[in-house]
């Protein structure tokens, strides 16, 4: 959008969170994406979520692959370490980073080209390993940075900006994530900040593989009639299964809801997800039913959004590997090096 440096000036009346940070402290440098890009809205939602969570920016690591979406980590959380890795390989880099230090929060940002095409394998394997992370796919069905080629999430029958038809079947990232064992699965829309911010907050508090498929229209190459990832199309076909309100701790519910319309899900870190059911019979804990429901909606051309599945006591990769409680990168010589006496025994056994 702009190469101008971001002004340092801040309104003196800006609200501060518990850490004394304003919302601006969670920002990054000025976005260089196109004006109106859905991805910028997602960055804004991430900033909002981290601010509201009173998250220390340096305790979060942001990693991405290559593409428009993967550029966005520069535009939020300027005080966090970031890693723009190689195309389609963010999941493995994030997995390794997580192995090195389990105490940080890991945010993987990717796109549909990065995760559904070149990186489909790495996406699948990071999810099935249960890496403790929030994995966001900024899904616009198109390659933006290389100017408008179809991606693997483009719906069959959708049209490119230049009128070409996509004949290939789309990859449904949510269906894959559910099948592969992600323990927090959501779909949202970059144009619906009210829905997206609490979903991100819930996912950041989730101690397992959390996945958000966020439809994010590409204003330059995929926002025309005939596209199924345009602002207009998504607004028309969006059907939320629930609305989420994130609470850092369990607290009293003030508003009145009809019987059965509210469900509270307590996560491992003590945070509570207040779920207001919009689809009355939708069970957010039933993975198999969720997959069926989503496929039915999909067949009708509707886009089901909201928190689609959550396992409130997930196990992550560190639990599977039985690693020590603290970060591996802090272990020192005494922890790691067996020493000369042990080596002499090793030698003796080989004579």
């Amino acid at each position: 959008m702009s190469y101008l440096p971001k002004p340092k000036f801040r309104h003196p009346g800006l609200q501060k969170n518990k850490l004394g940070y304003t919302r601006r402290d969670y920002e990054g440098s000025v976005s260089t994406l196109c004006a109106g890009c859905g991805h910028d809205s997602i960055s804004a939602a991430i900033i909002q979520a981290c601010y509201e969570l009173d998250l220390e920016p340096h305790r979060l690591a942001k990693l991405s692959g290559i593409g428009c979406s993967s550029k966005t980590p520069t535009y939020f959380l300027g005080q966090s370490h970031g890693f723009n890795s190689v195309h389609g390989r963010m999941p493995s880099v994030l997995t390794g980073a997580n192995l090195a230090n389990r105490d940080l929060i890991y945010l993987g940002v990717s796109g549909d080209g990065d995760s559904a095409s070149i990186g489909l394998g790495q996406f699948a394997h990071a999810i099935r390993r249960g890496v403790d992370m929030l994995y966001v796919v900024e899904n616009n069905g198109v390659y933006g940075l290389t100017k408008g080629q179809f991606s693997a999430t483009a719906d069959a029958g959708s049209k490119s900006k230049w009128g070409a038809d996509n004949n290939d079947s789309p990859i449904d990232m949510v269906a894959l994530a559910l099948q592969l064992g992600a323990t927090y699965v959501a779909r949202s829309f970059s144009g619906d900040k009210q829905q997206l911010v609490p979903l991100i907050k819930g996912a950041l508090g989730h101690r397992g593989a959390a996945f958000i498929d966020c439809i994010s229209p590409c204003v330059a190459f995929n926002n025309h009639a005939g596209s199924t990832k345009s602002f207009d199309y998504v607004r028309e076909h969006n059907e939320a299964v629930n609305a989420l309100d994130y609470m850092p701790v369990r607290s009293e519910i003030k508003a009145d809801y009809a019987e059965g319309a509210l469900e509270q899900v307590t996560q491992h870190d003590g945070s509570v997800l207040n779920l207001y059911k919009l689809a009355r019979d939708y069970d957010v804990h039933d993975r198999i039913a969720a997959m069926t429901y989503l496929q039915k909606k999909n067949a009708k051309g509707e886009i089901a959004t909201g928190l689609l599945y959550v396992d409130s006591s997930p196990k992550d990769l560190h639990a599977h590997l039985q690693t020590v409680e603290g970060p591996l990168n802090l272990l020192g010589d005494a922890d790691l090096i067996p020493g000369a006496a042990a080596l002499e025994k090793f030698n003796a056994a080989r004579r």
Partner: protein
């Protein structure tokens, strides 16, 4: 018929078996018996890419003189595999011996009249003694070891003791195995002219040396080097390195009180993910490695370049083998030098360590992690199948308890608070190595964004030419610094002044030692330089300058080390004579000596050895 061979402690025994028939433990036992009698011996597995059914061989070179390289030729053949009978029979030296299972009569055309044939009815004896088919198969192996004990005059107490050690923890198996061994031995003593002309005699030539596989040694080096993250994808011949790391860690790295693990090992979905995880972990301050082979190095290229430019520590053990796809995965070569040294796109150069044996696999395995942290770059440890997957006699491993991990230039929260300026790619010390911070270090200082090359000294995004050039020249400075930190080459001078030199590296060492000895015996003297790392120390250029002709001995077709010498040191190609062995078998002293003699135009020698 030529006179049957008469040799003490200097011959080659080869076993031909069917893969999956349980012969490996009997053959290993045979090799160990020789070492316990104080005689240096070098076993080599020659195996196909297969789990069951295809032919496999186990060769033991026995050499009181201490030559550990492959010799070539067979003096005593034990052909237990009918599929390869003809080829095995043909491989025996004239005057040699064949020990075979004589249960089924074979036509005379299947034998040679210039070798001594010794038949033992192994199957018949096994069928009489055992009813279980698996036992019949397994005990046959121990039985031929028993027959060999009689034929080669082995110390029977040593054999018994080693059987007991081999089955330690499985007490029930000790007695029947010893009994089977005696069955074979007694039959041979009674029915065959024991001992034969090839004999073992106790000496004291092994000393305190140990017998270990290079892969296991390198994995132990990784434990001592402080590695906590291992990500790998199975590929022959490197899989046993990651597997050995797993078992070493179970022994050394499990917290006694909590039973939790001070390590994380992930079998990745492919080599791209393996190296990605290693880079992620290295970026985040853990010592991490992967083990792979040539095809894996090819797949990792893009990531290796990223680690080079983003300056992330990583250790890559490359256990080299022949070609891609199904090609020669179980054969040895030194053929990944160029693809590792210049891995990736853009201008990249990498540090390679070149261990000669398991001892150096251990030493370099540990040192690689210090170098990776110090230089903030990928470090390759270049093994090959010959040292990786075979047990090799080597010096015992040593460790100084006062040694500490060198974590390199890492800024702590304290450093940042004290106001030290931080620029991720700023060359503060003039050695080309910048400072880094681990993620999560400080609330407001030291964070940076990691990218490939589009950045300035403060890790800010830029596509400006001068910033790019500044960064690239600094990386060259860093590579110069690496020359002073890597293991230095080792020069050995001939007994007489000479204008001829030879350069070699890695698993070629034992064959080279023996070749030099043979060449000196024929009056051909060479000074040698054993390379232990890339980039090259200045001694390498000086060595080439000091000789009229330098033979570069290596195990690949294209003379990859020779290419590196030409391109990195600017040495005249005419001066560097390639000596190249690349049929997949380990290089031999005979090959080196003959090739050098021929190239040096030493005619009498050529005649003498042919």
């Amino acid at each position: 018929m030529p006179k049957p061979l008469e040799r003490v402690n200097d011959f080659v025994v080869k076993f031909a078996n069917v893969n999956g028939s349980g012969s490996a433990s009997a053959n290993t036992l045979f090799g160990k018996i020789i070492l316990r009698m104080g005689i240096p011996a070098t076993p080599r597995n020659i195996f196909p890419s297969n789990i069951q059914g295809l032919p496999t061989w186990y060769e033991v070179r026995i050499s009181e003189a201490g030559w550990l390289g492959s010799r070539g030729g067979v003096d005593l053949m034990v052909p237990m595999n009918p599929q390869t009978w003809d080829q095995d029979m043909a491989s025996v030296e004239p005057g040699g011996y064949v020990l075979y299972d004589s249960t089924k009569p074979l036509p005379p055309s299947k034998f040679r009249d210039d070798v001594t044939v010794l038949g033992v009815p192994l199957t018949e004896m096994c069928n009489a003694a055992y009813t279980d088919p698996r036992q019949r198969q397994l005990f046959k192996n121990v039985m031929y070891v028993g027959a060999l004990a009689a034929l080669l005059d082995m110390e029977v107490e040593v054999v018994e003791k080693l059987i007991a050690e081999q089955f330690w923890g499985k007490e029930k198996l000790i007695k029947p195995n010893i009994a089977a061994m005696h069955m074979g031995r007694d039959w041979a003593l009674k029915n065959l002219p024991c001992p034969i002309g090839l004999r073992l005699k106790r000496v004291d030539k092994v000393g305190d040396r140990i017998m270990v596989e290079g892969n296991s040694a390198a994995a132990l080096g990784a434990v001592y080097g402080g590695a906590t993250v291992c990500a790998w994808y199975p590929i022959t011949p490197s899989s046993s390195l990651a597997e050995a790391f797993t078992s070493h860690c179970k022994r050394f790295r499990v917290d006694q009180t909590s039973s939790k693990r001070k390590y994380a090992i992930v079998q990745a979905e492919d080599e791209l993910a393996s190296i990605g995880m290693v880079i992620g972990a290295g970026w985040n301050g853990a010592r991490a490695f992967t083990s792979t082979s040539g095809p894996g190095i090819s797949l990792m290229q893009e990531f290796i370049g990223l680690a080079y430019f983003a300056e992330i520590p990583a250790v890559i053990f490359d256990v080299q083998r022949g070609g891609p796809s199904t090609g020669m995965p179980t054969r040895t070569q030194q053929c990944d030098l160029l693809s590792a040294a210049y891995a990736s796109h853009g201008d990249t150069k990498h540090v390679l360590l070149l261990p000669e044996d398991p001892k150096e696999c251990f030493d370099f395995g540990a040192q690689a992690f210090d170098l990776a942290d110090r230089l903030q770059t990928p470090i390759f440890v270049m093994l090959d199948l010959d040292i990786g997957m075979n047990e090799r006699l080597c010096a015992p491993f040593k460790w100084d308890d006062a040694r500490r991990m060198d974590r390199g230039k890492v800024m702590t929260a304290k450093d940042l608070d004290s106001g030290k300026p931080f620029g991720r790619y700023l060359d503060v010390d003039g050695d080309g190595i910048p400072y880094r911070t681990y993620p999560g270090t400080h609330p407001t200082r030291g964070a940076f964004f990691t990218r490939g090359t589009t950045k300035d000294q403060y890790a800010r995004y830029t596509e400006e030419g001068p910033a790019y050039i500044e960064n690239m020249t600094r990386l060259l400075r860093k590579f110069d610094t690496a020359k002073t930190l890597v293991p230095q080459p080792i020069r050995r001078d001939a007994a007489q002044p000479t204008r001829l030199g030879a350069i070699y590296y890695g698993s070629t060492s034992p064959a080279m030692d023996e070749a030099l000895h043979r060449l000196a015996g024929e009056g051909v003297h060479l000074n040698t330089l054993r390379l232990r790392a890339f980039p090259f120390h200045q001694d390498v250029t000086a060595f080439c300058a000091a000789h009229d002709r330098v033979f570069v001995v290596e195990q690949n077709r294209d003379g990859q080390m020779r290419t590196l010498l030409m391109s990195e040191c600017g040495i005249d190609p005419a001066k560097l004579a390639p000596v190249l062995h690349y049929d997949g078998t380990p290089i031999t002293a005979k090959f080196i000596a003959e090739t050098i003699a021929e190239k040096a135009n030493v005619v009498p020698f050529r005649k003498a050895v042919s």
